[in-house]
């Protein structure tokens, strides 16, 4: 996926909040990433180490909280994870077209500064 653009946004958001708080340094950035965003931790970390050089965030730890994908069946109301490599049918009633209720999260939750 497009980890470079995404990582730049993460750095921008963290830096803005750190400046506002008068921070000398960003020690850690806590991220919430849903499974369906397709983002890869190692790839974000790789770009981050590159982009954060000579900024407040140089050397900061990236902490990932992953949110598993879940669907809710629009017929029986049952909830289920999307089945791997199969049609996304409801395992309870076989209905199609369940609504995604988790897995698209994509935010900076908090930063640690000093």
């Amino acid at each position: 996926m497009h980890e470079l653009a995404v990582t730049q946004s993460i750095l921008d958001i963290a830096s803005r909040h750190a400046h506002k708080a008068g921070a000398q340094r960003i020690l850690a950035i806590h991220l919430v990433i849903g499974e369906l965003t397709g983002l890869v931790d190692e790839s974000i970390q790789f770009y981050f180490d590159f982009l954060a050089k000579d900024t407040l965030a140089q050397g900061a730890r990236l902490c990932f909280t992953h949110v598993a994908a879940r669907l809710r069946c629009s017929v029986c109301g049952g909830e289920y994870p999307p089945p791997a490599s199969r049609v996304w049918a409801c395992p309870h009633c076989d209905a199609l077209g369940g609504k995604t209720i988790a897995g698209r999260e994509f935010s900076v939750a908090s930063i640690e500064i000093e």
């Binding site: 497009h2 946004s9 993460i10 996304w88 049918a89 640690e112 000093e114």
Partner: protein
Amino acid sequence: MPIEIPVVEQILSANDRIAAENRKLLDEHRVVAVNVMASPGAGKTSLILRTIQQLEGRLCVGVIEGDVAGRVDADRVAEAGAPVVQINTGGGCHLDAPQVQSALHRLPLDEIDLLLIENVGNLICPVGFSLGEHHNVMISHVPEGHDKPIKYPAMFAAVDALVLNKMDLMPYLDFDEQAFDRAVRALNADAPIFRVSCKTGVGLQAWVDWLVGQSAPSSGRGDDG
């Protein structure tokens, strides 16, 4: 002493803000914008050219062409007589809202009813970045196989309409239409599926009628489309 401060900010909020500005600009000029996504070679430019042709005299179509490099597509669209702006992403795998914003400022928006935005050929990234469009459409094509909804669910789930192109090749390929429809419906209960061939022209009328319906002033405006 380290302190933790809450942020809780969407990572793509900067893009979303500009997308909202784009949407406002489009609405002010009464332009309906459609983000057209597909893998490379699915027939995005061919569908756009056919659409311009079919809508001649009914709607004025403008086009934004997104490609990694070159202006091959923009030249084809310009030849067809439509106002067009080419965006080269220089390696970027998707269009984003700032790129589209600069393209909008280079288009005669008052003369355009329908803006077709051809995204970079890619089944993954384009769907993650909103551009300010009213509708999202994707093209799947028969040679890429019927299993694509299972492999690239996010895009199939996000679109308002789906075009299955190159229907003329169906007799020569092992494309299971029933399996395809079922896999699409699992992700997307409502999007109409238009089976077309940009080569022969089959099925294009229904697609164009749908587009005209979305462009009517009474529908598709002001919602989240």
